[in-house]
């Protein structure tokens, strides 16, 4: 019986090759998008992890006193170390108008067994390679430098020309500019020349016996060495993943929609197939197919399309993944193609197969239950016992007879009409999705603070100037309205093996405009506000108490008086008045100043002025502009992806419409003949079918636009929560843009319906009437 069913199935597929091809295309398209989403999600950090393995890289990083680092390197659990290396901050490279902050490591002429970097181009430093430098891979791509180029590095002492001999991916951080500053490697002799005996910090990387336990190891180290700043390979990996997080979310959403659209199309195709082949079904049953076997036959036929299509889509998706992964992969000199994962591929094929089976099952079951005698004698499904309601409504509305005919035919099979409208609605939803995201980006550019952007325009960071000197310089600038002094600490949350970035603030922190979400800003020492992300993670709110360990030993318990929106580190931040810890930390090491300029003043002009006045003693960054630039770049990338995926879904919807109409034309052949016999011209026949599709488009737009905007708001709220941002940041697109979707959708359906409509127009009356 299986052989008989297979023979029948193959014959059907060959006979209906156009429909088969259409279904194959949409299933493959959906599988492609799904494979892309899963691959990018799984493999975003793969190049980094591969590089970490290849370089035998460190699992944990420490910055601090050299003697402390040497002792850390000897702790239990450490199987190898990179460093300690001197780390020198406060360098920069200017390319055009862009200033790139840089730090140097004196990594030496020989990379250790536990290497902090992976060389991707050129060569490493040689012992007599004075003025040689190996530069950061991300910086090289961002700033456009290659092996063999000369590069000018500036600091407060002046400018130095170095020769690029190699490019390396730094394993201690996500690629520049995702994480800055860029890291350059030079010999100790070169460093001496650069830093004139000044050493900013020492850093150490350790490889652990158990890499997964790096967080626990770090927390234990901090307990013993409270002043050491730490980082783990998982944090770096998450940072690398962040490069593609937006893409993954987008692809994931579109995958879901694509799979749904595929389901609608398959159900449409099966339903139509049942109607078109009802006589054949009757014959099958007459020769011995049971109802269950008829159902099985339909499922088999569609699985014969869906499984190969899913495989093709999987291969395509895998092949397209370098478009999303290539940028990160190239930085780590990894293959742009991720590792083939049978689990991911299996998930795609199984997912698509499941959708196919689910959406085949019901119409296939109905096919199996068709009365043998009726299908053999009439060959058509049971005629309705009531007049077409849509036609009645159209008639009551005194619409032109052509539109009445159009509506009647369009809704002649209500289920099919619903499925076609469903597929079109999905497209409209995803267009609304893309428009809403775009509008949200635009709104964020106008009001960065809303999305956790900096509440001040400039950041002044002392390099060689003292903190007090930098503060005095800031105070002296008439264009500066107010400023806040920020001291950075890393604290531990007890029993959670987590360390959290913390700002101790002094100055105009109440007036400068931090985006308080709930409660209020602290009014003095002894209170704290939490970033939204941290508050959600720890399930703390206004009125609760936050407990943390400063430098691993000093326990602080501060009442939470508010939560605020913080863009960095998914909102995992604590802020308090710096005076809270002035007895514990009289002279904080890492300090910068957030500066708000006088309203109406150009921030960039003030930045340049500050930089001039401070000479090389300070670094001044236009944080607000950087944030907006970063947002614009994200917007461009997401736009490109979103609208490309919209195009895919649009093609899928057009195919759905085409499939639906081809069936409708076939079924309505008799009606077309009748209408032509009473005076409908071929042009009117074409118009009627096209109008029917336009009605679908209008309904899809009316339903899809508000649903799309609503769903996008829900999705953005969800994503915002994950990123430690508040709900309600989504911006509704302008009415003009939304309304534009309507004629666009109608135009697309007109294009999709043209072919079957013309087929109907060309049909011979006499053939149609002989159909009986």
């Amino acid at each position: 019986m299986f052989r008989a069913a297979s023979l029948q199935a193959f014959a059907d597929l060959r006979h209906r090759w156009v429909q088969t091809a259409l279904v194959f295309f949409v299933v493959a398209a959906a599988a492609t998008v799904l494979m892309l989403a899963l691959t990018v999600w799984r493999a975003s950090s793969e190049p980094y992890e591969q590089a970490l393995d290849e370089a035998n890289g460190p699992h944990a990083w420490f910055f601090g006193d050299r003697s402390d680092l040497l002792r850390i390197a000897e702790r239990d659990g450490v199987v190898g170390a990179a460093g300690p290396y001197t780390v020198s901050f406060n360098f920069s490279v200017t390319v055009g108008t862009e200033r790139h902050p840089v730090r140097f490591w004196d990594t030496g002429a020989e990379l250790p067994e536990v290497s902090p970097v992976l060389l991707t181009e050129g060569r490493w430093l040689v012992p007599d390679g004075r003025d040689e430098v190996v530069i950061d891979a991300g910086f090289a791509r961002e700033a456009g430098f290659d092996v063999g180029d000369e590069i000018v590095v500036a600091d407060e002492a002046g400018r130095t020309v170095l020769h690029i001999v190699g490019v390396a991916a730094n394993l201690e951080r996500a690629p520049y500019p995702v994480w800055g500053p860029a890291v350059f490697h030079a010999l100790p002799s070169t460093m001496e020349h650069l830093i004139h005996g000044r050493v900013n910090a020492w850093m150490l990387g350790v490889r652990l016996e158990d890499g997964a336990a790096s967080e626990r190891f770090i927390t234990q180290v901090r307990a013993d060495y409270p002043s050491v700043i730490t980082g783990s390979w998982q944090e770096v990996r998450d940072g690398v993943n962040d490069v593609n997080t937006g893409n993954v979310v987008l692809l994931g959403v579109f995958s879901g929609f694509a799979l749904l659209a595929v389901g609608f199309i398959i159900a449409n195709a099966i339903g139509g197939q049942v109607l078109a082949q009802s006589r054949e079904i009757g014959l099958l049953k007459a020769v011995g197919f049971t109802p269950g076997q008829v159902t099985g036959l339909f499922v088999l036929e569609n699985m014969m399309i869906a499984v190969p299509a899913a495989l093709v889509g999987g291969v395509l998706g895998f092949g397209l993944s370098p478009l999303f992964l290539g940028s990160v992969a190239s930085l780590f000199d990894a293959s742009v193609f991720p590792t083939f994962d049978p689990l991911v591929s299996g998930t795609v094929v199984a997912g698509v197969g499941l959708i196919t089976m689910v959406f085949t099952a019901v119409p296939a079951w109905r096919a199996g239950r068709l009365s043998t005698l009726r299908t053999l004698t009439t060959g058509v499904m049971a005629e309705g016992s009531r007049p077409s309601l849509p036609a009645k409504i159209a008639s009551r509305l005194r619409l032109p007879p052509l539109l009445v005919i159009a509506v009647k035919d369009a809704f002649s099979q209500p289920l099919r009409a619903m499925l076609t409208i469903g597929a079109l609605t999905l497209v409209v939803i995803t267009v609304a999705f893309a428009l809403t995201i775009d509008a949200t980006f635009v709104a964020a550019q106008d009001d960065p603070v809303r999305l956790g952007g900096p509440p001040f325009e400039l950041q002044v960071e002392p390099r060689t100037m003292s903190n007090d000197g930098a503060e005095a310089l800031v105070k002296a600038q008439p264009e500066i309205e107010r400023y806040v002094k920020r001291a950075w600490f890393e604290v531990d949350i007890p029993e959670r093996y987590q360390h959290v970035g913390t700002w101790g603030l002094a100055g105009d922190y109440r007036e400068i405009g931090y985006p308080i979400h709930e409660g209020r800003m602290f009014s003095g020492p002894g209170e704290a506000v939490l970033g939204l992300g941290l508050a959600r993670e720890l399930d703390l709110g206004v009125g609760d108490t936050i407990t943390f360990l400063l430098w691993g030993e000093t326990r602080l318990e501060l009442p939470v008086v508010g939560t605020y929106v913080e863009d960095n580190d998914r909102g995992r931040r604590i802020m308090f008045d710096l005076a809270t810890v002035e007895e514990i930390v009289p002279d904080p090491g890492f300090v910068n100043f957030g500066v708000k300029v006088v309203s109406g003043t150009d921030a960039e002009t003030v930045r340049q002025s500050l930089q001039r006045h401070g000479g090389g003693g300070i670094d001044v960054d236009n944080l607000a502009q950087d944030w907006v630039d970063s947002l614009q770049e994200n917007r461009r990338e997401i736009r490109a992806i979103a609208f490309s995926l919209n195009g895919v879904l649009l093609a899928v919807a057009v195919v759905s419409l085409l499939t639906s109409l081809l069936f409708t034309v076939r079924e309505r052949q008799r009606d077309v003949g009748i209408l032509k016999s009473i005076g409908l011209t071929p042009v009117q026949v074409v118009s009627a079918f096209v109008m029917g599709s336009a009605v679908f488009a209008l309904l899809a737009a009316v339903i899809g636009l508000p649903v799309g905007v609503f769903l996008t708001n829900v999705l953005i709220d969800f994503a915002a929560q994950e990123d430690g941002l508040p709900k309600g940041i989504a911006e509704t697109p302008s009415a003009g843009w939304l309304l534009l979707v309507v004629p666009l959708t109608v135009a697309v359906t007109v294009i999709g319906s043209a072919l079957p409509a013309m087929q109907a127009g060309r049909s011979r009356i006499i053939d149609a009437l002989r159909y009986e």
Partner: protein
């Protein structure tokens, strides 16, 4: 195919003589076909369904074209109504040549000039009986009120008022054919073409439909009907006999005696 006996032309001649004797002038021809032919090619084999047919139908005449299955009568009717194109020959409707019109122009012409009634009714299944008829009226350009008024008149005359809101599948065969008749007549066409209108009906419905056709004929409607049923053919004023795509004879019927005689002869012929 059954062998067909020679045509009884004596009745035909007698009928024509009586016409001349009564001084009846032939009325203007509503439809005329000259040298009409239609050939189909199937797997390289040419089949001539209609061969060199000459036909004139005067205004107000009721003509039946009768012949066995496959003789080409339906094909001829389809050509006369523009549903099919002739391979050769000319067709004139109210003196105007129409065989070379394109499909669009034929469709516009059909709206007002030609009404069709088919064997299998050919009603739109998901429109009510009333909507099926009104649609034809609206297509011809009549405002809804006018189309509805005419539909109501026809339904009243045809006894269809009770079923106006029902879909065709809920109607009997006779009711469906009467709805089809109403649709064909709603625009008061120049000519009504009926293709085996009773072929799918029981005897009672057949009688109903034939009575209706006679009634409209009496009101001046020009009717061309094709049938293989002698009893149906006998309702007409003139019966044209067709065999193997050609006309082989014609019988004019003046009164009931002619009718009975014709009926007998036709039945004999069939036997």
């Amino acid at each position: 195919m059954t062998a067909i006996a020679p045509v009884r032309t004596d009745i035909l001649v007698a009928a024509r003589s009586r016409l001349k004797g009564k001084g009846v002038q032939p009325m203007a021809d509503i439809i005329e076909a000259r040298g009409l032919a239609r050939a189909f090619v199937t797997d390289g084999v040419v089949i001539e369904a209609v061969r060199g047919v000459e036909l004139s139908v005067a205004e107000g005449e009721f003509v039946a074209i009768m012949g066995p299955s496959g003789c080409g009568k339906s094909t001829l009717l389809h050509i006369l109504g523009g549903l099919d194109r002739p391979s050769r020959g000319e067709v004139f409707l109210r003196g105007k040549r129409v065989d070379s019109l394109n499909e669009g122009r034929w469709a516009r012409l059909r709206r007002k000039e030609v009404g069709f009634v088919f064997q299998f009714f050919n009603l739109i299944n998901n429109l009510s009986a009333a909507d099926n008829v009104e649609l034809a009226g609206l297509l011809s350009g009549a405002p809804l009120s006018e189309a509805r008024r005419r539909r109501r008149e026809l339904f009243a005359a045809l006894g269809l008022e009770e079923v106006a809101g029902k879909v065709p599948s809920r109607l009997s065969g006779g009711q469906q054919q009467r709805v089809a008749l109403a649709r064909a007549l709603v625009n008061r066409p120049a000519i009504l073409l009926a293709d085996e209108p009773t072929g799918n009906l029981d005897s009672e419905s057949t009688r109903e439909v034939l009575n209706l056709l006679r009634q409209y004929r009496a009101e001046g409607q020009t009717i061309v009907l094709v049938t293989h049923d002698a009893r149906v053919a006998s309702a007409a004023d003139r019966v044209i006999h067709m065999r193997d795509g050609s006309f082989v004879g014609e019988t004019r019927i003046e009164d009931s005696r002619d009718r009975s005689r014709l009926l007998s002869s036709l039945i004999d012929l069939e036997v």
